[in-house]
Amino acid sequence: MNGVTVVWTLVAGVSVTLAFVHFPVWLRRRGAWSSFFLSSMATGTAALAFCELAMMQARTPEAYATALRTAHIPVWITTVSMVGFMQTFLRPRHLWLAWAVVGLRTLSLLLNFTVGQSLNLGTVTGVHLVPFLGETVAVGKGTFNPWMVVGNTGVVLLGLFAAEAAVGAWRAGHRGTAIRVGGAAVFFALAGVSQSVLVFGLGLDFPTTISLFSLGVLLAMAYELSCDVTRATQLTGDLRESEQRMTMAAEAANLGIWVRDLVRDDIWVSARLRELMSLSGDGPATFERLLRAIHPDDQAPVRQALARAATGVHGGQFRIEYRTLSPDGAVRWLAAQGRVEFDAAGRAVRTRGACSDVTASRLAEGEMQRLREELAHVGRVSALGQLASALAHEINQPLGAILRNAEAAELLLRLPDPDVDEVRAIVDDILADDQRAGAVIDRMRALLRRHEFAMVPLSVHDFVGDVAALVRTDASARHVQLVVDLGHDVPPVLGDRVHLQQVLLNLLSNAMDAIDEARRSVRNIVVSAARDGAGFVQIAVADTGPGIPADRLESIFGSFVTTKPSGMGMGLSISRSLIETHGGRLWAENQASGGASLRFTLAIAAKEKTP
């Protein structure tokens, strides 16, 4: 056995093996460029080893020259692959250095085939046979090719490139990698340059062993990649663990989770989300399919919220509540929140979201609101009920007039020569009375209607006037004078017309009851309004009743507190809650002249706030 053949064949074998191991990795994962470069460099090294073997076994100058010239092809492959590997693996800062190395190596390759018999030796004049590793090997002798300087400059630059990349990796904290890969590459460059200068420039009787140095670099690189594989395995384990933790947390919180890749328009949803959105298990979840599962009224708001987040508002965060419709028609409220993620260029690339079922709390909220409105409605019905007799009278008045007018017209028309002017006047009166009866009914209906709270700017004159019109008949039948004294500079307030009328109706009705109780000769109610501070209007209902005992000024606003045989005892309680919903206050005072004064405040409608 001779050593040289064994060693160089071994180098080629190891290199080919590395190429076989790493090339399929790149084939399966095209992003793994380091594996590609490793395999191409291994291929180059294997070829270089064969070329060096051929050089050593050459016995004529021609054979030696051919082998030496051919060797520059694998050297080019090896160098470019090494640069590529370090560029992708260590990411040095100076890309130009990499291009310079590649450029010089390519130029060297061109010169190698154009100037003289090879880049190193312009002409090979002979071979010295020298013993090496127990074998006789050939070492070429001839004229030195000055263009070899180009090749050596390239190798020196490669060394610099490797050193710079290693320093960068060191600084980034990858010290082992910096020493192993950077060190091997720098050694490769130094050794290569030294050997080519000694052998070809100074005529040292020693064969070239570049493939050995190259194998050293290859092994360092392969070691780093295998470390990566180990790290990836560990990361996979960690990832699985964290995923399990997240899934557990999500399940514990009953959260449905989704991730949407905006670039590939691909969406992943958790099983719980499918359940929440009532998506059937089969068929892939698509964004459009999820949107269709949302209540038709809520689809547009959800789209808008997501689109807004995708513009980067609030750091891409979104939060929205929406309904979904299950196939059986049940409505479910979901609260969703999440974040849109952006790439370095600021493009939205991914959306992550989580949502939970908030149906129960939504329903409870809705139920509370419904109960409040129901109670307010009952209050209005009861308040109007107390006025029923007066209101019937008020409606019968115009109806009676209509009837008598119609009868009169009928009689007039029976005459041979009817007075057309009189009949016309009658018809006009009938129309006017019809309007009058209609207005009473409209006022009542407005109060009796079930009603959803709506705050709008209201004229105090209007809503006080409407209630005064409702109450006036009852007041006059009870010999109570109702005075509405509002002044002209009372600004519009912000409120719900029906609820404010209800409050006023209740206060007026209480005031009349109080007056009946007092049995005094002065029987009047004064409704007044005035500005209260910068932002409020205060409305007061003052009566000439007996007043309210000082210790009951507050307790009268409790529930089921009544002094009347027919009262529910809810009127003032409901009124106070209605006024507080408006952001105002309702309270009771006694007047110096006797009698109570019930007062409430309302916010002035916004545009009036800053005159």
Binding site: H393, Q397, G400, D433
Partner: protein, 213 residues
């Protein structure tokens, strides 16, 4: 001619109803006067207004019931009938007890309203005739002298001339003269007729004598 004629006095604070009612009653052949309140009626209406009053029960200020009370105290208790937008039992009972002619809802059938007014006017006519006759008879008795009243009292007690002369301590002939004068002034020819007339005129001298004596 200043002579009064049966008039329907409509009193209502609702101008529209007042006009409508006035039109219907005029078209139905009544003479109608309208008043916008009880106070206006009391101030403006003739003291001896004839016919009837149709008043709204619920009015601000003086109500229908107040008007009824005020009218009852006058020499001319003209019949009153009430209209109401909405009948409530308590006030209708009160009104009827105090002698309201009738109590109708504002939207009562026309026939009911007109009949009630006819009835009221008729009753007013009868009552007025009765009052006029009584006043006329009273006027006649008012012409009697004090002595003649004394004699009348005895005559109505059924005493003979002789007894009267003795009781009054005057001559029988003087009693005869007084009796003749009484017959002439009252305008009757016989003692039974005189007795009837005196009872009708509710003369204070009339003794409480058993009937048929």
């Amino acid at each position: 001619m200043t002579e009064t004629r049966p008039t329907v006095h409509v009193v209502d604070d609702d101008a529209s109803f007042l006009a409508a009612a006035s039109r219907l009653l005029s078209a139905s052949g009544f003479h109608v006067k309208t008043f916008t309140g009880a106070a206006e009626f009391l101030a403006r209406a003739d003291a001896d207004a004839e016919g009837c009053v149709v008043a709204d029960l619920h009015m601000p200020g003086l109500s229908g019931l107040d008007l009824q009370q005020a009218l009852a105290g006058t020499r001319n208790p003209i019949p009153i009938l009430f209209l109401t937008g909405h009948a409530d039992v308590a006030s209708s009972v009160r009104a009827m007890r105090r002698g309201a002619e009738d109590f109708l809802e504002k939207r009562a059938p026309k026939e009911a309203l007109l009949e009630a007014i006819e009835r009221a006017i008729a009753r007013d006519g009868v009552a007025r005739a009765a009052r006029r006759r009584q006043r006329d008879l009273q006027d006649r008795f008012d012409k009697l002298s004090a002595r003649e009243m004394e004699v009348l009292a005895h005559v109505l007690r059924g005493q003979l001339n002789k007894q009267i002369a003795s009781d009054l301590d005057i001559s029988e002939r003087t009693v005869k003269l007084h009796r003749a004068s009484i017959m002439t002034k009252v305008g009757v020819r016989s003692v039974p007729a005189l007795t009837l007339v005196a009872r009708e005129a509710a003369v204070s001298a009339l003794p409480d004598c058993p009937k048929g004596q």
